[in-house]
Amino acid sequence: MDSFVILCFAVVNSVALLALISLGLAVIFGMMRVINFAHGEFIMLGGYATVIANHCGVNLWLSMLVVAPMFVALIGAVAERLIVRRLYGHLVTTMLATWGLSLFLIGAVTAIFGNTTMGVSAPLGNIPIGAYSIGAYQLFLIGITALLVVSSLLALHWTKYGLIARAAMQNSEMAATLGINCDRVYAVTFIVGAAISGLAGALLAPISGVLPHMGAAYVARAFVTVISGGGALITGFLSAATILGPVEALLSYFATPVVGQASLLLLAVIILRLLPTGVSSLWTGGR
C-alpha cells in the first residue's frame, strides 16, 4: 500500500516535471513557431539566478519566485531584440541562432562559475508515508506547476492579452489591420516564455543542483512533450505530459531511469507516427 502511494506520487511528479520544463517552450514554440534551442539554458540561468541570489543572502522563496524569472525575462528580452526578432519566419536560421546562444550561455556561465555543481538545500522537509517518506518540496512543485498551467490557460482564454496573442499567432497581417502591434506581441510572448523557463529552472534548483550544461538534460524532453502535444497550446502539451510522464516514471521505477527516458522518446515517436500533428489533433481536427 505504501509503495503504491509512493509510485502514484512518482507518476504525478513525473507529469508535473515534464509540464514544468515544457511550459515556457510551449509558449514560445506554440505561439511564435520559434524553435528556441536555448530553452535548456533559460532553465539553467533560472537555476543559477536562484542559487547565486540565495548565496548572497536573498530569501530562497524570493530568489526562486521573483529573482530568477525576472532575470531570465531580462535575458529573454535582450535575446529577442538582438537575435530572434531579426529572424521571424526563418525556422532553420532561428534554430541555428538560438543554438549559438545556447552555447554562448553555457560558455559564459562556465567561465564565471566554473564547471561544478552548485546548489541550495530543498526547503520544507519530508512527509512520512509508512516506511517511506516524500519531500514536501516535491508536493509544492506539483502544486505550483498545476497553478502555472491553469493560470496560463485562463490568461490565454479569458484576458484581452490572451485574445490578442492568439490572434497575432494565427495571422499577423490580419492582426495588424485590426490595430495590433505584432512585433510587440511577439516580444512580450518571448519574454513571458523565457520568464516561465527561468521559474522552472529556479524551482528545480533545490532538487537537482545547478551545472552550466544542465539544460541539455531538459531540452530534449521539453521538445518531445511540446511537439507530441501538437497545435492546441496548453491542453496539447499537458495531455502529452500526461501520457509520457507515467511511462517514464513507471519504467524508471521498475527498470532504470535510462530505460524510462528511452521509453519516453520511443513513445513520442509512436505518437507522432500515428498522429503527425500531435495528440491535440484528436480534438482540434488536426489544424
Binding site: 485574445l163 492568439r166 494565427q170 489591420t177 485590426l178 490595430g179
Partner: protein, 248 residues
Amino acid sequence: MSGPPILATRGLVKRFGGVAAVDGVDLVVNAGEIRCLIGPNGAGKSTLFKCLTHQHQPTSGHVLFEGRDLQGLATHRIARLGIAIKNQIPSIYANLDVRENIRLAGLRRGLEKRQLDRVVELTLDEIGFNERLASQPAATLSHAHRQWCELGMLLASSPRIALLDEPTAGMTREEMLKTVDIIKRLNASATVIVVEHDLEFIARLAQRVTVLHRGKVLVEDTMDKIEANEIVRDIYLGRKKEATHAER
C-alpha cells in the same frame, strides 16, 4: 467645404517588379460618403486598398487621412487611426469563435471591459447573429455568415473609414440585400469605400462611383452617368451587364 477631405491620395503608385498595379491614382473621398470603386479584374482595386492601409508599401505618392500624410506608418498604426479594411479573401480568425473575433476588432477603441461587452452584443445584434452563431468557431460559418462576421468586426471597431473589398462576392440576392443594410449602418458613423461588381448593390448604396482601369482612375461620376459612359461600357459594364442578363 470645411477642412481637408477625409481621405485623399496623390499620385499613388505601386509597382510589382515592372508592372504598375496602381499607376498614379488621385482620389478624393469626403467624410460620410459611400464611394464605390469598380473596374475589370486587374484594374488595381485591391492593391489600391492595400496601399491605403500599408499592407503594401506604396512605391511612390501619398495617402492623406484628414490632410495627414500616412507615409512611414505601420499597418497597425493606420488601423488605430480608424481606417479599417475587409480584404477580398475572408479575414476572420478561423479558430476563434464569432464573439471573440468581434471582440478583437473592438479592442481598438480602448473601451472598458463592460462597455466592450455591450458593443460586442450590440454588434452581434446588428449583423443578425443569434447566440448559437455567436459562439460558433468562425471556421464553421457559411460563406455569407463569414462576410457578415467580418462586417461585424468593422462595425465593432467603429472606424472613421471602412474599406470593403467585394463584401457581397458569392452571395445570393437576399444575402446581398442584408449586406446593403449592414453597410448602411456602418455608414452612419463611417465613410465607406467599397469595391464591388454587383450593379444592383452599387445602385442601392453608392453616391459616387470611381472607375479604375489599368491602375488609373478612368472616370468618376454618379452611377447613372457611369452607366451611360461609352468608354466604361466598352471596358467593363457592357460585358458585365450582358453576362448578368444571360444568367437570369
